[in-house]
């Protein structure tokens, strides 16, 4: 789609070639409108005599098509001197420049209609915060991926030029994506059937059925129909979100520990070693987790999955808004919806490998201990499921009665520490230690520990995080 610029506008270097978005863009954008028109005037269209509503809708559609096409004509993008420039605007012109070295990550997203037409949207994470400022919609999928690669390699080249570790970063760019984990359909379906939603569904339908039986009407089972539909929709939504879930990695995270990250002074930026998550049935999305921005992980093992030994992995990433907390909601923070525990722990180790600057960031290496027996007075049931441990590079805590949730944070990523003692804990000589992390699913907590031990834990952690910070920066 490269067209030489016929009439260079003022302020634009002559002879510069630009690119356009896909000509199908207006169609994708107005797909909802098209459907609305079709539905609202279906009867009229069949009769061949559109009514007043149909005419208005058609007029809207025509205007929309004209505006959409004109806006498509006015939208151009090109790469110029380490900047991605996007010119848009029908009435008032807008020219956005995105500096490639400010790009944190690029996601390729395919909404349903776009996917049908083989198009994709390119979303760029620029600077901090959660706001996605840079978006290019829509491009052909191959074009979007090529542009993504191009922008990322340009960015890495620019950054490498700044910090003087050029060959290293450029060499890593060339390395192909290596598949780390792939979710097969059977596991996904079984995991969805064995989920808290299903249990809730079964319990509520049993209650409803019992109620109707007690009232003496078999026909009352019809009341369960909405429940079945609701359950089906929820599970199907998850199925389509997690379908063909693939985790790949670029660069060698092992190599990223030493020279790669050490050469970069701005640790707030992501670097080449990253984990890429692709998922979705109708709406494909690709998402990149920069290993340097990983703040911690959560391994969740719901009790329904324990016969299979499965677990889920969530990750906290700095500056990334996270979706649904807990539960089974399809969320941005999920790096692996379901997999055998060993596989999940391997993936966790990979995710934590850069931020803990060592190969031994394995959750399995950290020995967890339980709170003292007298904690049963404040947490009779929960006490049995609480545990905490401090490893060489990680601080890990576990909790959860109906499914063990193991939270892990590298010492280097600890923000601040807290020691709490409630009046009844003081009476029992107990205390809590909390590790503060940036917003995300991860929250390491040592609940109801012996007070002396809690204090020692605080000292130990504060010492460990100090050492990790000093060696890191």
């Amino acid at each position: 789609m490269t067209v030489p610029d016929p009439a260079p506008e003022p302020g634009q270097s002559p002879g510069r070639s630009y690119h356009r978005l896909s000509p199908l863009t207006p169609l994708v954008r107005s797909a909802i409108l098209v459907v609305a028109v079709a539905v609202s005037s279906w009867d009229d269209l069949l009769r061949g005599a559109p009514g007043p509503i149909g005419i208005v809708a058609l007029a809207l559609l025509v205007v929309g098509a004209v505006v959409g096409t004109a806006s498509w004509l006015r939208t151009k993008y090109w790469i110029e001197a380490d900047e991605l420039r996007v010119d848009t605007g029908l009435v008032s012109r807008q020219s956005r420049r995105i500096r490639v070295d400010r790009i944190q990550g690029i996601d390729v997203v395919q909404p349903f209609v776009a996917r049908l037409l083989g198009l994709a949207e390119l979303r760029m994470d620029v600077a901090g915060g959660g706001a996605r400022e840079g978006s290019l919609a829509f491009l052909r999928l191959s074009e979007a991926e090529a542009l993504r690669e191009k922008l990322l390699s340009r960015r890495d080249a620019v950054r490498a030029g700044e910090s003087g570790s050029g060959p290293d970063a450029v060499a890593q760019q060339g390395s192909p994506h290596r598949v780390v984990a792939r979710l097969d359909l059977r596991t996904l379906v079984v995991s969805l059937v064995l989920s808290p939603t299903t249990v809730g569904f079964l319990v509520s339908s049993a209650a409803l059925g019992g109620l109707f039986l007690a009232m003496g009407g078999i026909g009352g089972f019809a009341g369960a129909v909405p429940l079945v539909i609701g359950w089906g929709i929820t599970q199907f939504r998850r199925l389509s979100a997690f379908y063909d879930f693939t985790v790949t990695t670029t660069g060698d995270p092992g190599a990223g520990n030493g020279a790669g990250t050490g050469g970069r002074p701005d640790t707030g930026q992501d670097t080449v070693p990253g984990v890429h998550v692709r998922r979705g049935l109708f709406e494909r999305s690709a998402q990149t987790v920069a290993l340097e921005r990983v703040q911690g992980v959560v391994v969740t093992e719901p009790w329904m999955w324990s016969p299979m030994g499965w677990a889920r992995l969530d990750v906290s990433v700095a500056g990334q808004a996270h979706g649904g907390q807990g539960g089974n909601e399809p969320s941005l923070s999920t790096v692996m919806p379901v997999a055998p525990r060993a596989e999940v722990l391997d993936l966790a180790r990979l995710l934590l490998s850069v931020s803990s600057r060592s190969g031994s960031a394995d959750l399995r290496d950290v020995r967890l201990t339980r709170p003292p027996t007298r904690a049963r007075w404040v947490a009779p049931v929960r006490r049995r499921f609480l545990a905490v441990g401090v490893g060489e590079h990680l601080v890990v805590s576990a909790q959860g009665v109906l499914g063990r949730r193991t939270h892990a944070v590298p010492h280097e990523r600890v923000q601040s520490l807290q020691l709490h003692q409630r009046p009844w804990q003081r009476f029992l000589g107990l205390a809590d230690v909390g590790v503060d992390s940036p917003p995300g699913p991860v929250a390491v907590r040592a609940r109801h520990r012996d007070a002396e031990e809690a204090r020692r834990l605080l000292e130990q952690l504060s010492e460990a995080t100090r050492r990790a910070r000093l060696s890191g920066s």
Partner: protein, 162 residues
């Protein structure tokens, strides 16, 4: 004083006694308003025993509040160590917060009208975690700005990435 919440090798710096005075004033104002409302209720015909016992309850709560406020204000303290700031608060629900200077994102100094009248200000330390509750109220205004400058300086020199 409790060893559990003591900073290692350093003494706590307490906040200004003006914090307790300020909160006592607020408490007295609250009690006065509540009693006045009850007196009005009595004038309007609420049974005598009812409003008198309500006044008694309010006064008792006021006395209990006075003691709690005094105790609580005494527990606000902080200590500046080489690499971290320690903040302690809460007489009943005790909390000790350890914030490494390098993790600091920014520092707020806040003084409302009442605080200004008492010559105090509060300093709030923010990290990338919203859970970090490192707030020190009731610092003398000069000490608050000194602490802010010191924290900013240490935060810059020890800054660590996310």
């Amino acid at each position: 004083m409790d060893d559990l919440f003591a900073p290692p090798g350093h003494d706590w710096r307490p906040v200004s006694p003006a914090l307790a005075r300020l909160r006592h004033l607020l408490l007295v104002a609250l009690v006065v308003v509540a009693v006045a409302a009850l007196v009005v209720a009595g004038v309007l015909g609420v049974p005598r025993w009812a409003w008198l016992s309500a006044v008694a309850v309010v006064l008792l709560a006021g006395v209990a509040g006075w003691v709690l406020v005094a105790r609580n204000a005494g527990w606000w303290a902080y200590a500046e160590r080489d690499d971290e700031l320690y903040v302690r608060h809460g007489a009943m629900f005790r909390t000790l917060v350890v914030v490494p200077y390098g993790r600091m994102q920014y520092v707020d100094v806040h003084a409302g009208p009442l605080e200004q009248a008492f010559g105090v200000a509060s300093v709030h330390l923010h990290t990338a975690s919203p859970g970090t509750s490192a707030r020190i109220p009731g610092l003398p205004a000069a000490e608050a700005s000194r602490l802010r400058d010191r924290l900013t300086e240490l935060g810059e020199s020890q800054a660590a990435g996310l």
